[in-house]
Amino acid sequence: MKILGRLLWVGVAAAAAIALGAIAFLRGEHINSLWLVVAAVCSYAVGYRFYGKFIAARVMALDDRRATPAERLRNGHDFEPTNRWIVLGHHFAAIAGPGPLVGPVLAAQFGYLPGTLWIIIGAVLGGAVQDFVILFASIRRDGKSLGQMAREEIGTLGGFTALAAVLMIMVILLAVVALVVVNALRGSPWGTFTIAATMPIALLMGLYLRYWRPGRVLEGSLLGLVLVMTSIFAGRAVAANPALAPIFTISAMGLAIAIILYGFLASALPVWLLLAPRDYLSTFVKLGVVGMLGLGILFVHPELQLPAFTRFVDGTGPVFAGKVFPFCFITIACGAVSGFHSLISSGTTPKLIAKETHACPVGYGSMLAESFVAIMAMVAACVLHPGVYFAVNSPAGVVGANPGAAVATISSWGFPVTVPEMAALARNVGESSLFARTGGAPSLALGMAQIFARSGGGQAMVGFWYHFAIMFEALFILTILDAGTRVGRFMLQDLLGHISKPLGRTSWMPGVFATTAMVVAAWGYFLVQGVRDPLGGINSLWPLFGISNQLLATIALCIGTTILLKMHGRRFLWITCLPLAWLVTVTFSAAWQKIFSPIPAIGFLAQADKLEAALATAGAAGAATTRAVIFNARLDAAICAVLLVMVTAILADSIRVWAGILRGTREARVMESPFVPSELRPEEL
């Protein structure tokens, strides 16, 4: 039996190696998406079985005889020992957001290979390790948060940097995801109607769950799902109606203003009325769609149309500017390594883990599952013809504002596409145009629609599936906007409460409105900046988001390294130091290039200088807009500089702590809660 087991693992490892070899070396023909699926699944299996289990057994020495915080501090609310598969589902639903879907679609401009390799290798050696180590650390420390652990293990600076990084990520994240929605819905009456309909549907669900059928959340969510599906069908009729279509045909700036107003109102409303019901609905839709996409890819196993590499690895890409290194590695954060996960791993999850060994499938395993979501997004983007992919994702400022100019530019890159081809595609999905739909969501929706339509319904259903995919993306993006604004408001109130006591009170409505307005103004500013940006906004905002997310991962891995150092000395440092060194290199390079690159499309300062020069030679026409773009470029450069300083500070502080421990001048006490034997019975799980 043992020999059979070993042979099986040799077979899985060989399949991973062959599939990775195939996607890396097969050239000159379209490769099938199943190669990516096999490469990913077999690599994850080997990574989990050998690396994850090695860390669990040898490094963390997970011990099921030790009571977890869920058992010791059990209170029926936060702390509750829960079945490991339920915690896994809960954790996966919490970490899976728009990041692993949008990032790979954008990075597909380099071809499928760089992003795919980074998603697989990054997740196995970096992302899953980070999530697992932080989850373990939090379990052994009574479910403490990342900020608390940063303060205890590294110092006050670490704690403060973690807090500041979270705030910065939140503001940039909210702006960038709002921009993704704006770009997906701009000039699309069908999409706008469907998304607008989700709001009264969520309100109805809120009332249903509170007053009509209290506590029947699954029932209410099913009702919401039926109504949302109906609204997608109704959206087609609205788009075809000459009286209604203009009402729902809104410009990018109009949508941005609507989303800013929505963000303000939604985060000031009681959570049970809008946020919570929509969150329930979006969670179930998200899990369902991810499952459907996985089955669809297996069933259809489409061929990838994008090549392994495109010419844009040299940094001249239209989707976003910058070479494959470092920009591929900050564009795909969630899906490979995401610092934000460390907040979840040190949030709800450690308080639900019943046995220490469950941390491996939950921490390490969930990240691998999210990484697979990113692989599916990569497949969905790469099944599009390259010309179509670039026509959808390239901003008008790069390829030209009219369709003729856009197809000429894109075809000149070696990716032929025609105006009639794009017009037919737009007609098929019920849109007036698909040119310059930047942000990743529309091209992901197109790819998903093709896969779903080929799985069932045929071409007649492509329009429905396209808008279903847009609805799915917008639904949880709006939930993130609403919840993020609320959390930002709490953080701000907490801070301002030190200056003025009433401002800190969450029940004082003027304070609530004032702080909500401040948070909305912060992300709203960047959203408007993105809408006005001649390069489409994604070019400047997504790298900022990626850099700030990887900064948080740097903090998490510094904490992990400190803990491993205290537990084992130098012996296992490489486990966290390897991904840490890579992330620091990537974050530094990307941030440095975004500030100082002499190429205006990459460097914020170079862009500002170029526009300044143009302003001096041009007349007054458009001067105010250009000045605003110049100011924004300099502001983005300043934000990048702050992120760079924060990475330097947290790293320097950590190195100081590590050197002290290694020299023996600093106490290396492991700050775990004392051992208490577990008394949980198997039937309690």
Binding site: I86, R210, L218, L275, A276, G484, R486
Partner: protein, 58 residues
């Protein structure tokens, strides 16, 4: 067959956990109370306040 039943059971339990229905059952058991609208609202308010004080992942 029993494995399939178990898998469906786990999936159902995950959905109930995500819907906060299991947490509500635990709340009722812990406090020795019976389900009613007011009880759900009390539970839900406390639960949602804690839930939405934390950032949602990207």
């Amino acid at each position: 067959m029993s494995r399939l039943r178990r898998a469906i059971g786990i999936l159902w339990a995950v959905l109930r956990e995500l819907a906060d229905e299991s947490a509500y059952q635990r709340y009722l058991q812990r406090h020795g109370r019976a389900h009613c609208g007011a009880e759900w609202r009390r539970f839900s308010e406390e639960r949602l306040r804690a839930k939405y004080a934390r950032a949602k992942c990207c």
